[in-house]
Amino acid sequence: MAATTSNVLQLQDPNRRSRTLWQRAISRLRRDRLTLLAMGVLLALMLLSYGSPLVNRYVLGVDPLLPDTPNRLLPFGAPGHLLGTDDLGRDHLARLLSGGQVSLSISIFSALAILGIGLVVGLVMGFSPGVVDDIFNWLITTLDSLPSLYLLIAVSALLQPSPQALILIIAVTSWTGAARLVRGETIARRELDYVLAARTLGASRWRIMFVHILPNLLSILAISLTVGIGGVILAESALSFLNLGVQPPTPTWGNMLIDSRIYYRTAPHLILMPGLLISITVLCLFVLGDGLRDAFDPRTED
């Protein structure tokens, strides 16, 4: 009975419970050194990548798109090119940074789009049992049963692969997992006492959805977003491998990795660095995802 009371009380301040959840999570994260390290690395990578127009211009003093063929395939530590140059003499470090900007943007926006679609569809499904739920269920099963690779190939042939198209392609083909997740959580929470109480008190369906359910989903969504961004970075490199990714001259970590593979004997640093950056970024995202999961888990002991 005590639990019900506290939930009813909470109705007067609907965000209180989730705020304490977040506060607890933050205080836990502060003590999780591995997760903090991952966050630090990610922050540094994002700062460098998104600051790459400035860094390249004022710090490195090079244009990542401008070829300089006499200085092609320079090794690490060449004068003026800390990480050497690629097959067209472009500064490798500058390209890694601006490639990072493209790769990270593709991944972040795709993951957000996946989450957005998943959230809307999942909430709608969770709150509209019956025909709507059945139809979306059928759509999700159908999309899940089509090999994702086939979907990716077909849609990439349909749209010429630009970063924007790639975001669309990835979002359209990958939202089903997020929708399933949100639907499941929504259904689980729909029947919880405090939601039932809110309903008895006459709250509208939308109010319940946005005031009572959504805030409670945020932690799960944050975890899913973190892991999702990592997944898309890997997917982007896989698409580049199949010639379906972003096409040159726009650098991405994926196409830099794939396009440099013929130089793996003469200039191995070209294939090493993008691969390392992809792995490190994804690694940090996954570690962060695990850390968030632990931090938000109410069962974790402080």
């Binding site: 798109l65 070829p67 067209l88 096409q247 001259p249 396009d259 013929i262």
Partner: protein, 561 residues
């Protein structure tokens, strides 16, 4: 004690040597029927299973009687140049024992001429009107009109076992529907058909009845054409000794050259192909044929930007080939002034390539009415009232498309974007799906397309496929995709093809005049041809490549097991 080299070993007898193994980086074979083959993989297998009517001499690279693997021991041409009479050898039979006769040549031609098959060889019909087989050892060809390039259009005539084909296919159309392995099991060559595992490999077996084996026997046990999905892996497998010989991937030629120090047998030859950029001079929004049904020219409109020859010339002047070669072609590229390769007898060494001259490019663009309105190098030039076909205010922007997956082409696209950008041309470079690219190219809806042009062997500049006249300007069905139409060029080429007696000096003079016109008009940018570097394993004996004929004597190679 170590045995040094294979000399100490006994020479293997017929079919006792190890098999030849080659890497197939292309697709699977589509067919074993020479009438229907049009892809490189099928052709590689078919060339080893079927004889040809005429073949090229391995020293001169010209068609010559008695070339290995060919049927004609001699031929004569009538006074009027319309009738070609070939005498066939009588010492060769199909693998089922049936002698090879003139009927086998006639069947191949009749199938192509029937129009019922999905053959890619219909260009033969441009020259050849009929094939007769008056007796088993005589083939008589009649031409529509005298043509000095007739032999290059006769060379690809398919020769097939007529007795087998006639029995298998009640109509010519029936071969379109045939199973992959319906034919090929009756063959004539150094090899007989062994097996095909699509997606994996094609195998052929030694055929000791082959009369043209240079060593008097077919030494390797067989021939394997193995699919490899990725070129990097294929090259590593070659280095691991798994392929008898292989070519260097584009950009890695120097690595392969260096293998000579380790005992690999390295060979180089000029490629029989070139990389081109087609520049569409007609309106891409409304593609039209060159001629209507009664042969009158159709108004095809003009490409707003590329329709002006000065813009096309400016592209040439703004192109820095040295940079392309160094950055994208690994220094192996050879710049071209025309589409005729340096290896051709008609090549004009005097014809100059366009020099890299940015000032000239800028001047031509100014004259063409495209001006730099804001002196900001980052923005393209803008069309003024003076522009011939562009609306005033149109930015000088063109799209260059190429197929995705070719790294050298991608690098060229990147370099051209900056080179042409320096002249105020906004190049939108895109690498797209191959099928989409082909549809744009043949459908004539493109601005500029970068692809490869492969030449026949031996080749003649008057060959049917290199015909940039309005007759060949057919939407979705012609080689003149840029809608080039210069009557002077067409007339010179026609003259060169009908020089009485086909006097070579006279032909060269006419052809070279035509090449010079094409150079001025720039309907295509003939970007580059390349050196091809190939290498065989150190332990392969008898490897004796002649130019591009790397495997001409493969039946006598000795490959230790």
């Amino acid at each position: 004690m170590l045995v040094t080299g294979a000399v100490a070993q006994d020479q293997p007898g017929p079919g006792e040597g190890g098999p030849i193994i080659l890497s197939n980086l292309g697709s699977d074979i589509a067919t074993l029927n020479p009438i229907l083959a049009q892809d490189g993989s099928s052709q590689a297998v078919i060339n080893r299973l079927y004889p040809t009517l005429i073949g090229a001499d391995v020293e001169t690279f010209n068609y010559a009687p008695g070339a290995p693997g060919s049927l004609a021991t001699s031929w004569s041409i009538s006074e009027d140049g319309l009738t070609y009479t070939f005498t066939l050898r009588d010492d060769w039979a199909w693998s089922d024992g049936t002698p090879i006769t003139s009927a086998d040549v006639k069947y191949g031609f009749d199938a192509v001429a029937s129009g019922e098959t999905n053959t890619a060889l219909t260009y033969i019909l441009d020259d050849v009107a009929a094939v007769e087989a008056p007796d088993p050892q005589t083939v008589v060809l009649t031409l529509h009109a005298p043509s000095c390039a007739a032999l290059t259009n006769i060379g690809p005539l398919p020769v097939v076992p007529a007795h087998q084909y006639a029995e298998l296919f009640p109509t010519f159309a029936a071969m379109n529907e045939a199973e992959l392995t319906a034919v090929g099991n009756v063959s004539a060559g150094a090899w007989t058909f062994g097996n095909v595992r699509p997606g994996e490999q094609v195998t052929l077996l030694a055929d000791q009845s082959y009369p043209d084996a240079t060593a008097g026997q077919v030494t390797p046990e067989g021939w394997i054409f193995k699919n490899v999905a990725d070129q990097t892996i294929s090259y590593e497998q070659f280095l691991a000794g798994q392929f008898t010989w292989d070519g260097a991937p584009e950009g890695r030629e120097d690595e392969m050259r260096a293998l000579a120090a380790q005992g690999y047998q390295v060979h180089e030859y000029p490629a029989a192909s070139l990389r081109f950029i087609a520049l569409n001079s007609a309106d891409p929004a409304n593609p039209q044929d060159g001629l209507d049904e009664s042969g009158n020219a159709i108004d095809q409109g003009h490409h707003p930007i590329l329709g002006d020859v000065r813009v096309r010339q400016a592209l040439m002047y703004a192109l820095n080939f040295a940079e392309l070669n160094e950055g994208a072609l690994g220094g192996e590229g050879v710049q071209l002034a025309s589409h005729v390769l340096p290896s051709s007898w008609a090549f004009d060494p005097e014809l100059a390539v366009y020099p890299f001259d940015l000032a000239m490019a800028n001047q031509l663009l100014d004259e063409a009415g495209f001006v730099d309105d804001d002196s900001d190098p980052a923005t393209p030039r803008i069309a003024t009232e003076d522009a011939l076909y562009a609306e005033p205010g149109t930015p000088l922007a063109i799209t260059l498309s190429t197929n995705s997956g070719n790294e050298a082409s991608e690098a060229i696209g990147v370099l051209l974007t900056s080179q042409w950008g320096a002249a105020g041309i906004d190049l939108n470079y895109q690498a797209i799906d191959f099928n989409v690219l082909v549809e744009q190219l043949t459908g004539q809806t493109f601005d500029a397309v970068m692809l490869f042009w492969g030449f026949g062997f031996p080749d003649d500049p008057n060959g049917a496929t290199v015909n940039f006249s309005p007759v060949n300007d057919v939407v979705a069905a012609g080689f003149n995709v840029t809608s080039y139409n210069n009557p002077e060029w067409t007339a010179l080429m026609d003259q060169a093809n009908t020089v009485p007696g086909c006097d070579e000096a006279q032909r060269i003079e006419l052809l070279q005049q035509a090449f010079a016109i094409l150079r001025e008009d720039v309907p295509w940018i003939w970007l580059n041809t390349s050196n091809v570097v190939v290498a065989a394993q150190p332990n392969v004996q008898g490897w004796d490549p002649r130019g591009q004929l790397v495997g001409w004597n493969e039946s006598s190679w000795i490959i230790p097991r």
